[in-house]
């Protein structure tokens, strides 16, 4: 059960006289070992602006010590609107960047505790995202009695 992530970044004119070509590939594995990841979650969600949402599980929704679990998150903002539409993303109530229309991101994520959740907040109007989350240890919330 292999999960691989490949990136290529190219530009013929960012650095005049030196075309840019970055290529990298990695096989995503459990933390610190070469065993493959075994769990995943994908989705497509339309998000109304003005609200902060959590994406992915809380640390306490992962088995063992969440900080020692290797998790990877892919998000793409599939919106095609203008520059007033974007998604603020961050961790632990700290916004880190803006995912504009058509932009994607791919990061490793290790939650130290529940406060270190992945947060996204759409701006400008309804933004639609595609996402994929890979790890091996998230658990489902217990159903109400």
């Amino acid at each position: 059960m292999a999960t691989t992530a490949t990136i290529s970044i190219s530009s013929p004119d960012l650095m005049p006289g030196s075309s840019l070509s970055i290529a990298a590939n990695t096989t995503l594995t459990k933390a610190g070992v070469t065993a493959d990841l075994t769990q995943m979650e994908t989705g497509v969600i339309s998000l109304v602006s003005g609200t902060e949402y959590r994406l992915g599980p809380l640390a306490t929704e992962m088995a063992d010590d969440a900080h020692d679990i290797a998790s990877y998150l892919y998000i793409c903002n599939t919106t095609t609107e203008d520059a007033t539409y974007y998604i603020d993303w961050g961790i632990n109530e700290t916004m880190i960047g803006r995912l504009y229309a058509g932009d994607w991101m791919f990061i490793p994520w290790n939650a130290s505790d529940d406060a270190a959740e992945i947060e996204i907040e759409p701006q400008g109007g309804t933004n639609t995202i595609e996402y994929a989350f890979f790890n091996s240890d998230f658990i489902l919330p217990t159903a109400a009695a």
């Binding site: 840019l20 900080h67 960047g97 490793p108």
Partner: protein
């Protein structure tokens, strides 16, 4: 303006229905998505032989609240070792609240970055040399002050 294209392909057979995600984006300015980014701090490779946290992206070199992109890759191959990567002024360790994640040997990441706080890293090991590659695609660089 420059043309910068970034493509990702993620393939997984975790599910009995294998998935393949493939997406390409053009890196553009926040003020005008029709205009490409045209500045960069350049591609850098740094050797780490200690676990001391280090700043790899200084936010005061970049314009605040813009559509910067940061590419980081652990160029080492040992999956037992990693770099903490954090959005933090000075620290990058397990106890740091703004630690984004652990970049294991061979792993890479690409994230949008607002340029408001430093990006810091720390190697998990001092007994084995690790190499980090990184590059900022900037939506505005602030000229160094004399």
């Amino acid at each position: 303006m420059a043309t910068i294209n970034a493509s990702v392909t993620i393939s997984s057979d975790i599910s009995s229905n294998p998935i393949s995600i493939s997406k390409t984006m053009s890196m553009t300015k926040s003020a005008n998505p029709a205009v490409g980014l045209e500045e960069t701090t350049g591609l850098r490779t740094k050797k780490f032989t200690a676990t001391t946290a280090a700043v790899i992206v200084e936010h005061d070199e970049l314009t605040d609240d813009k559509a910067h992109k940061v590419y980081i890759r652990n160029a080492s191959t040992n999956r037992a070792n990693f770099f903490y990567v954090a959005y933090n002024a000075s620290a990058a360790a397990a106890a740091t609240a703004e630690t984004i994640g652990k970049l294991y040997g061979g792993d890479w990441m690409l994230m949008p970055y607002d340029g408001n706080v430093n990006i810091t890293v720390a190697s998990s090991t001092a007994s084995e040399t690790q190499y980090l590659e990184y590059m900022v695609f900037a939506d505005g660089i602030v000229a160094a002050k004399g």
